[in-house]
């Protein structure tokens, strides 16, 4: 492939009526990365993905997919799992996967053979010849996911892939995403469940209100918030408040506050000198969930 960016989009705008659902979003997904698009419900994630794939056309902006200016030209190299899952209920699972491969240029025979291998790998070997209507929702969802990778795409786009899956199938899906990444595929997925993004993403974008609010690594996102200090003195004394930073709040047997800008050392010296001592001290980095809430909350404020 040789492209630096699997996906590159700038200034994407989409209006539904007078509402700008997506309002100038830029996205650049490095080739070979796992990239998350995070955002609350109604943020514009799905609309953004649909514009990237050419399902709908943006009102403004431009995008390239795998180096192609038109998403249609890249379609044989792209796999897609839409937010609203959909399969033909009367099709057998193997046929459904082969059909999705055929839509992307894979011949039926190879598609059927790969479908069996993929289903056995995903623990669904027993359901190869079952009709979709007889599968559970989670199984059908996995079948559709397998259909989106059967042609071994260079770019896999997954819209809320974890929603509706039980924990076991969520773990299967995480493994499958990592397998695809190891195969060389670029993964772009949307979610509002932070734990998956935190574990999987090399980079992520946070979208809220149709605008991109953040872009960077998971560490960059967590860096948006200051680290938090949990301090426990030797003895409880309300007067300690005069020594602690103004944002300090009581927390069980100690105090919790943001790490001061100049570091913790000066504060610790003052606490020791005042005779409070240090019974416990921990400095914690905030999680992606907190960072997400802060970033999205700023927009909503």
């Amino acid at each position: 492939m040789g492209e630096e960016w699997a996906v590159k989009a700038g200034g994407l705008v989409k209006r539904f009526g007078d509402r700008r659902v997506v309002d100038g979003v830029d996205i650049a997904v490095p080739t070979g990365a796992i990239y998350g698009v995070l955002g609350p419900n109604g943020a514009g994630k799905t609309t953004t993905l649909r514009m990237l794939l050419g399902i709908i056309e943006p009102d403004e902006g431009h995008r390239t997919l795998l180096g192609f200016d038109s998403p249609r030209d890249a379609s044989d190299h792209v796999g897609y799992l839409p937010e609203e899952r959909g399969l033909y209920p009367a099709m057998k699972a193997r046929e459904a996967i082969a059909f999705m491969g055929a839509l992307r240029g894979l011949d039926w025979k190879t598609g059927r053979a790969r479908a069996v291998t993929l289903m056995e790998g995903a623990g669904l070997g027993h359901a190869v010849d079952e009709k979709i209507r007889k599968l559970s929702k989670g199984m059908a969802q996995l079948v559709q996911l397998l259909g989106s990778v059967v042609h071994q795409p260079d770019l896999l786009v997954l819209d809320e892939p974890f929603s509706g899956l039980d924990p076991v199938n969520q773990e299967r899906l995480e493994k499958l995403i990592l397998v695809e990444r190891d195969r060389g595929a670029t993964i772009l997925f949307s979610t509002h469940i932070m734990s998956h993004a935190e574990r999987l993403c090399d980079r992520l974008a946070i979208i809220a209100g149709g605008k991109r609010r953040f872009e960077g690594t998971v560490d960059d996102a967590r860096g948006v918030l200051p680290q938090r200090v949990h301090y426990t003195p030797h003895r409880p004394d309300p007067a300690i408040r005069g020594v602690l930073p103004p944002d300090a709040l009581p927390d069980r047997d100690g105090w919790r506050f943001e790490l001061p800008g100049g570091g913790i050392e000066t504060l610790l010296v003052r606490l020791i000198d005042a005779g409070y001592g240090i019974s416990g001290l921990s400095i914690e980095r905030p999680g992606l969930h907190e960072a997400f809430v802060r970033i999205v909350g700023q927009q909503e404020a």
């Binding site: 709908i56 044989d76 999705m100």
Partner: protein, 409 residues
């Protein structure tokens, strides 16, 4: 792989899915045998055929090639004899002509005229007349013989009817009769109407499946919507062809069991372009009629969001088809008229009217142009249907009209 080949492959992937998903169901058997219920349409066709036959009757004539004096006497005899027939059951109108240098050639040429349909032609002396007659013209020939005898008796002023020595010869036309061409035209129009009425309406609900089970999102991401639409149309056309092949075979086998004379009962069906070419054009126009109406129904049906809406579409669909049938029937009974031109040009009636045109006129180039014109409109209907679907159902379009989008906010 080129974009065209990829598009073609994707189109046939959709077609294959739709074809197999439709044929391999129990419902398809119900559909296959539905013509038994649809026999009522035969009555409709019969009424139309009767009107065409009436039209053809106006052009049918019997001709007597005689000297002027005998012509007058024969006309009087004809007036007297015609009174014994009930209205509508009499022989064709009598026309008399003076004899040319070669009355035999003159009589034979009368069968090749395209302004009249000569049922039988008499020439030669009344005592030993020669009578030529065409298909279904034997009764007319007998009537001419009786007229000759009556006229001869009148010449002899009250004597007994003299015996005459009649020679009747059945001839084969070098071209189809005007009435036969009109009948062929009507059968073509009705045949295509019947098949498309029965088959193309199925297309209206096909997009509902994808909408209901959300597969449309998968298809729209992988395949151009135009390919989705065209693929579905081809898939359903495959179903229609299978249906026609099945029933064509059944009807063909039944026809072989009919008595030999039965074929003559349906008249002198000789389309102007010739039988084999007519069959080819019929197939072509059936294809185009199906694709044209199917693409319109597909586009309209794709906008419907519930089965109820789709069911409600069936009435306007039927009305549209019957309207096209009516327009085309009017066109084939008046070849060359403004209404015929209108029907031949209007995309949805064009296949019907042009099939009728093939029966009435021998030129082939209009059919090449017509098929290209109809194919163009199939493309237009599919593209427009896909765009409306993308804009309305996939919500791809902006609510702002294009002339307002350029304005800054």
């Amino acid at each position: 792989m080129t974009r065209f080949r990829r598009t073609l492959r994707q189109t046939f992937t959709i077609a294959r899915r739709d074809f197999t998903a439709t044929v391999f169901t129990p419902i398809f058997l119900l559909f296959l045998f539905a013509p038994l219920i649809m026999g009522a349409f035969g009555a409709v066709g019969g009424l139309g055929a009767a009107s065409v036959t009436d039209g053809a009757q106006d052009k049918a004539q019997i001709i007597a090639i005689l000297p002027a004096a005998e012509s007058r006497m024969m006309a009087e005899a004809d007036t007297q004899l015609r009174g014994i027939f009930r209205p509508g059951e009499g022989p064709p109108d009598l026309t008399t002509q003076p004899a040319a240098a070669d009355p035999a050639a003159q009589a034979r040429n009368a069968f090749d005229r395209n302004d009249i349909d000569a049922a039988a032609v008499l020439y030669g002396p009344l005592a030993a007349p020669q009578i030529l007659y065409g298909p279904r013209g034997d009764r007319a020939a007998g009537y001419l013989a009786t007229l000759a005898q009556t006229t001869l008796a009148a010449q002899q002023a009250g004597g007994t009817l003299p015996p005459i020595d009649v020679t009747k010869t059945r001839i084969t036309r070098s071209r189809g009769s005007v009435g036969g061409q009109h009948q062929s035209a009507f059968f073509a129009v009705f045949g295509i109407f019947f098949l498309t009425l029965f088959l193309s309406g199925q297309v209206v609900g096909t997009m509902a499946e994808e909408r209901n089970n959300k597969v449309i999102e998968v298809l729209a991401a992988a395949v151009p919507l135009e390919s989705v639409f065209f693929g579905k149309l081809i898939g359903m056309f495959g179903v229609a062809v299978l249906f026609v092949a099945f029933w064509g075979t059944v009807v063909g086998q039944v026809t072989t069991l009919l008595p030999a004379g039965a074929a003559a009962a349906i008249g002198d069906l000789r389309p102007a372009v010739g039988g084999p070419m007519f069959a080819l054009l019929f197939a072509g126009y059936f294809t185009m009629a199906y694709l044209l109406l199917g693409s319109v129904f597909l586009g309209v049906g794709a906008q419907a969001s519930t089965m109820r809406e789709i069911q409600m579409l069936s009435l306007p669909i039927t009305i549209l088809q019957v309207a096209m049938f009516g327009l085309s029937s009017a066109a084939v009974s008046r070849p060359g008229s403004w209404i015929a031109t209108l029907a031949e040009l209007f995309p949805l009636s064009s296949p019907f009217a042009m099939a009728g045109h093939a029966a009435n006129s021998p030129e082939l180039w209009p059919h090449v142009a017509a098929l290209a014109w109809q194919a163009l409109w199939v493309t237009i209907f599919i593209v427009v249907g896909a765009r409306l679907f993308r804009r309305g159902v996939l919500q791809s379009g902006s609510a702002r009209p294009f002339w307002r989008r350029a304005k800054p906010h």
